[in-house]
Symmetry: C2
Amino acid sequence: MSDFAKTKAMFHIPEDMIYLDGNSLGAMPWATAVKVERTITDEWGDMLITGWNKAGWMAKPTDIGDRIGRLIGAEKGSVVMGDTLSIKVYQAVASALEMNPGRKVVLSDNGNFPTDLYMADGLCKTMGADYEVRTVDPEAVEAALSEDIAVLMLTEIDYRTGRKHDMKALTEKAQALGIITIWDLAHSAGALPVDLAGCNADFAVGCTYKYLNSGPGGPAFIYVAPRHQDVARPALSGWLGHDAPFAFDLDYRPGAGIERMRVGTPPILQLAALEASMDIWDQVDIHDIRKASIALCEQFIAGVEESCPTLKLASPRNADDRGSQVSFAHPEGYAIMQAMIARNVIGDFRAPDIIRFGFTPLYIDEGDVDGAVSILKDVMENDLWDKPEYKIKSRVT
Amino acid sequence: MSDFAKTKAMFHIPEDMIYLDGNSLGAMPWATAVKVERTITDEWGDMLITGWNKAGWMAKPTDIGDRIGRLIGAEKGSVVMGDTLSIKVYQAVASALEMNPGRKVVLSDNGNFPTDLYMADGLCKTMGADYEVRTVDPEAVEAALSEDIAVLMLTEIDYRTGRKHDMKALTEKAQALGIITIWDLAHSAGALPVDLAGCNADFAVGCTYKYLNSGPGGPAFIYVAPRHQDVARPALSGWLGHDAPFAFDLDYRPGAGIERMRVGTPPILQLAALEASMDIWDQVDIHDIRKASIALCEQFIAGVEESCPTLKLASPRNADDRGSQVSFAHPEGYAIMQAMIARNVIGDFRAPDIIRFGFTPLYIDEGDVDGAVSILKDVMENDLWDKPEYKIKSRVT
């Protein structure tokens, strides 16, 4: 959208590349390198240990948490940065399970991103043989809610298909049965408006290296509803979540509010990179992003369906039921994506047969969509994917 | 030591500052900013998602792990980077407890860094009421070893006093009683030679932002002895520790060897900063560091004891029993350290009465020690610490 021409200029996209993988790793803001360089040279280099105070490093996890909170409808003081999404999932599930003693089941769906399931399963194994992660089809979640379930853990937007759960409705139904909810916003934060407070969400987690453009390995975030913050026991009880970290007490005493979800020393260089992209996000209305994202997705679907009849839409057709990505299924999906990448249109493949394209209006416009459609058409019409070298699965992401 | 004049030139120390806090946050190598800038611009910026393969990001946690492994006597393929030290402590304790079923006690000492105790305690609370963290005085550890103890978790070098545990002897005695050992090397890695393989260590963990100069919030490491690697269950079972992360299986299957101790997406920018400092460490023999460190510490102790009779040595007098720091006790320790900092000699204070000075031969030499002694003498002789503004405890680190 021409509305975003200004933000597009703030990002570096390699020449001649059409980058439709910002849902996996967001593009680099031009400002990032300078921001990080200053953090290294002017803060770490010159202030050394005093940077924790003088440069405000210690407060960055909550300061930036609030800036992300604006995009996901979180109350002020209810989001903190740190660790990875996997770790934040573990924290949330551990706290939620303890808040629901007597119940032993974590319910999720089999479209959830695997690490969420793995982390919950690892926790259940640690807690004992009577704890269980139960997965059902995404469409069967509502029917599977029952009073034996302690925690409902879902990713709002399916990483393969972009299918969107109804956060408000599922939260309400779950809570009516005494279930605590955890929402993974990995494919939501920066992709579409989220209203955690309005949904009465309990816990949420997410990452920042996708739509929020913090760079490879950028820190994750966790949200805890204000009503739970002083109740939730941090299972990962690290010193920076202590009420007085620098008293060096022998006993752990959880900090006030969201502070207790901090664990160890925050990654200041990655946080600086995140700040550079939040400087852009601060100027953007997430509702405008959503409007532009839907327009780009619709344009892409129409173009592909018209020109590539063998590709089957794997994402919901209705824009309201979809995140900010479009997926198509094809038995030769892997080779097709390799052929696209060879032509500098970057999306990705997800087993068994999904090709996935992310639309990030901050730096992707209609011209990019037209370009991608036309190259995909060429690849499909002329069987350009049908080469042995495109069929060797060597790519790790 | 003049032997290290070459490495000293590789670090930035602000003009007129004597930095004796490299045991808390190491100094900045000049090469770091350029290395990180290239990772941002040439790798993230230009390669985007393909950086995971093309720039070798995915292999960095083990590649760098091996480089650190050289400094701590670890077998190749037994160290991996990631997360924070707190998280790595949790991983190690969780695996170790499960490897010793039937025993429920984690033994540590009350000089251990609090986050180690907090994390183990948080894990024990999650595992059930019969699990326990037991702490004794550091000198009483050996006598407290018994057959009801599952795990002995110790920090080799005491963060307050620099007192050094005998890793080899304690490991041997613990193992003879069927106890699994975890060594925290936060104040050891890069400070003095460690011989994990020679000590027959089971698990070890450590951080990189102290002596290893990776910058604020640099990633931690975990070591698992080769004999345990395919036995240890990762309690934090994240997708990057999965045997085939990109198969996106619903069930977790731990990866081979040390790979299973990976959790989430590695922090590529912080790892790049660490690589810049490892480029220096690769050129250094840790035994030379130890020799230089002992000389600097002895020089400092002699100088302070001669000129500041009211300061009481809180570190072991025998160099072999000490890490790479020297601590003195004084009831007005906090104000004394503030007066030192005001004169640009940076050490730190640890409650209740310890002033602590770290000696890092990579960039600290005899001239720095002389300077620090002379300023400390001035502060003590002339009661320069006795000002109200030095007594307000506002510093967070």
